[in-house]
């Protein structure tokens, strides 16, 4: 069996990228049915804030879990979880089938990941971890549960716990990790979540159109920085000080400075490097992305608590791979919103910091095809000095274009269309939209956190000393400071609107 990209529609039903678009659009369409009074997404289960002693004294599942919509309150919480499991297993299982995954192994792995995700999500909502000592929508869980101490991390603790459980499995229970890896698909899950985030972007545009357009344009500028500034610097350092050959330096530079694994594979393809180069580099990128994801959100939160959008955009330029970037953005969002609420008793609306991180990253993703195309031409003419009549097919740009971005933009455009042409239907559209971009999206994020942990194996860094050093220098000395400076220039002073 082989996978060849010959036609423009090749891979439309067989790649994770396309399936992120299909799955995201399907959820989006289900949410839109609320326009016609059909609210068919509210059954999805979500965790409630709970407190340990209170639960032990009088146990009830309803203290831990509820349906997202009150219309489905008649469902027992465990039935809501079961429905959630069945729907997600069937839909992602269909995707797994068309992606030529081993469906039996996928369903087994997904079932385990589903259970562990929910365990993390529920534990993460224990009041001592999540509750913030401030009033949110008229409720202060710190006071309701009479807490004497608390970490006050909001939803961030759930994310970190899922990541930790995944990492423990990926590094200490490797046989078990191998058994569930068929379903550990962080890029698929996160790209689906990003499509759903298009709804959030639509709602953001309604609330603050100027702010959202500015965010999108600044993201485009950031993409130019990644390609035209980061890449040449890292390439030069790699060649000059680390004596890497041209191919390795180019592939590594793209991985470190552009968008991680996807960029390293695209670049290696553009310069026709042997596939073992991007495969080796990818391992390095995945493990480093984990460090970035764990270290940067708390660092940015504490160093610049009053620059939320700057921090989000800087994250988008610094953290590599879509999964790790979105995950880091989600943690940053939770930490910054919680910290601000705790300190100022004012709640920023959730999702804006995350959107800043994702919009910046998406612009970088979008240009990878064009970048690779240009690089391929330069490589043939100036590096290989070939005078052959080799053409770089234009279709290469399309094959490397991230298709989930099309779905993300489509969702955004549909919301813009409703805003400008059918404003009367917006309140009804938002009923389903809020559920899909809320609980559905957060659940996909939780799956991503656990899956990233499962596929990250730190022991694979053995024997990569020189490359590790170059990556560390590239990231912390070159990329992170410049990214922060650029993000500051474009976004300083921008704040998310207040939550109501």
């Amino acid at each position: 069996m082989s996978t060849l990209n010959k036609k423009w529609y090749s891979g439309m039903f067989s790649t994770e990228d396309w399936w992120s678009a299909w799955l995201g659009l399907f959820f989006f369409a289900m949410g839109l049915l609320s326009i016609w009074g059909l609210e068919i997404v509210g059954w999805i289960a979500k965790p409630k804030t709970w407190e340990f002693t209170n639960l032990v004294q009088d146990f009830a599942w309803s203290k831990l879990i509820k349906t997202t919509s009150k219309d489905y309150n008649f469902l027992h919480p465990l039935v809501a979880i079961l429905i959630t499991y069945i729907v997600f297993t069937i839909l992602t299982g269909i995707g797994a089938y068309y992606q030529k995954l081993n469906v039996k192994k996928y369903i087994l792995g997904f079932s385990v990941i589903f259970v562990l995700t929910w365990v993390s999500w529920i534990i993460g909502h224990e009041a001592h971890f999540s509750a913030i000592n401030a009033s949110i929508k008229g409720k202060n869980y710190f006071e309701i549960f009479d807490l004497t101490w608390g970490l006050q991390l909001g939803g961030g603790f759930s994310f970190m716990l899922a990541l930790l459980i995944g990492l423990l499995i990926g590094n200490f229970f490797k046989d078990f990790a191998d058994k569930i890896k068929e379903a550990a698909k962080p890029e698929w899950f996160i790209k689906t979540a990003i499509v759903l985030l298009g709804i959030k972007l639509g709602m953001m545009t309604m609330k603050a159109a100027g702010f959202t357009y500015e965010l999108a344009l600044a993201g485009a500028a950031a993409a130019f920085v990644a390609y035209l500034l980061f890449w040449p610097i890292v390439y030069y350092v790699g060649r000059k000080f680390f004596k890497l050959n041209r191919s390795s330096a180019a592939v590594l530079s793209s991985g470190i400075s552009i968008c991680g694994v996807s960029a390293s594979i695209a670049t290696a393809g553009a310069i026709k490097a042997k596939p073992i180069i991007p495969i080796a580099v990818s391992t390095l990128i995945i493990v480093f992305a984990m460090f970035e994801l764990v270290v940067l959100p708390p660092v940015y939160t504490n160093l610049a608590p009053n620059q939320p959008i700057v921090n989000g955009a800087a994250m988008g330029m610094t953290v590599k791979t879509d999964g790790a970037d979105a995950a880091a953005g989600a943690i940053l969002d939770e930490l910054m919103v919680s910290k601000h609420l705790k300190k100022e008793d004012v709640k920023w609306e959730e999702g804006w910091i995350l959107s800043a991180a994702i919009l910046t990253k998406i612009w970088i993703d979008v240009f990878i095809g064009i970048w690779s195309f240009i690089l391929a031409i330069i490589w043939i003419r100036n590096v290989e000095n070939k005078k052959s009549k080799e053409k770089i097919p234009l279709k290469e740009i399309w094959f490397r274009f991230p298709k989930f971005v099309l779905a993300y933009m489509l969702v955004w455009i549909i919301y813009l269309g409703m805003m400008y042409f059918f404003p009367d239907i917006l309140p009804d559209a938002k009923i389903g939209g809020n559920i899909v971009q809320g609980t559905f999206r957060k659940f996909m994020f939780m799956l991503t956190f656990l899956s990233i942990g499962v596929i990250t194996d730190f022991s694979k860094l053995k024997g990569m000393g020189r490359l590790i050093l170059l990556y560390a220098i590239g990231l912390f000395v070159i990329i992170a400071p410049i990214a922060y400076l650029v993000a500051y220039i474009f976004h300083h002073g921008m704040l998310p609107p207040l939550a109501h």
Partner: protein, 80 residues
Amino acid sequence: MQLDFTLSFTDRQWVCFNDSLKITANSLDEIDEAIKNHIHHNYDKGNFRIKMYFDFDRFPRWHRQYMPHYFNRDFTFNIN
């Protein structure tokens, strides 16, 4: 005339094949030369267009979620 090939990579070597030909080489340049030789010995004079499609199944499964394409090649040459 156009000839289509599947391009693959195993055991540190490039493999280029179609129904009538299979070439294994250390570099793509060697592959190109072998194809030219093959055409020279088996076809009449003329312009030839070569298309190669990289088989992405050669990448480890977990890599494919990040980028579903490696590269395709398209070049022409003339045999007098």
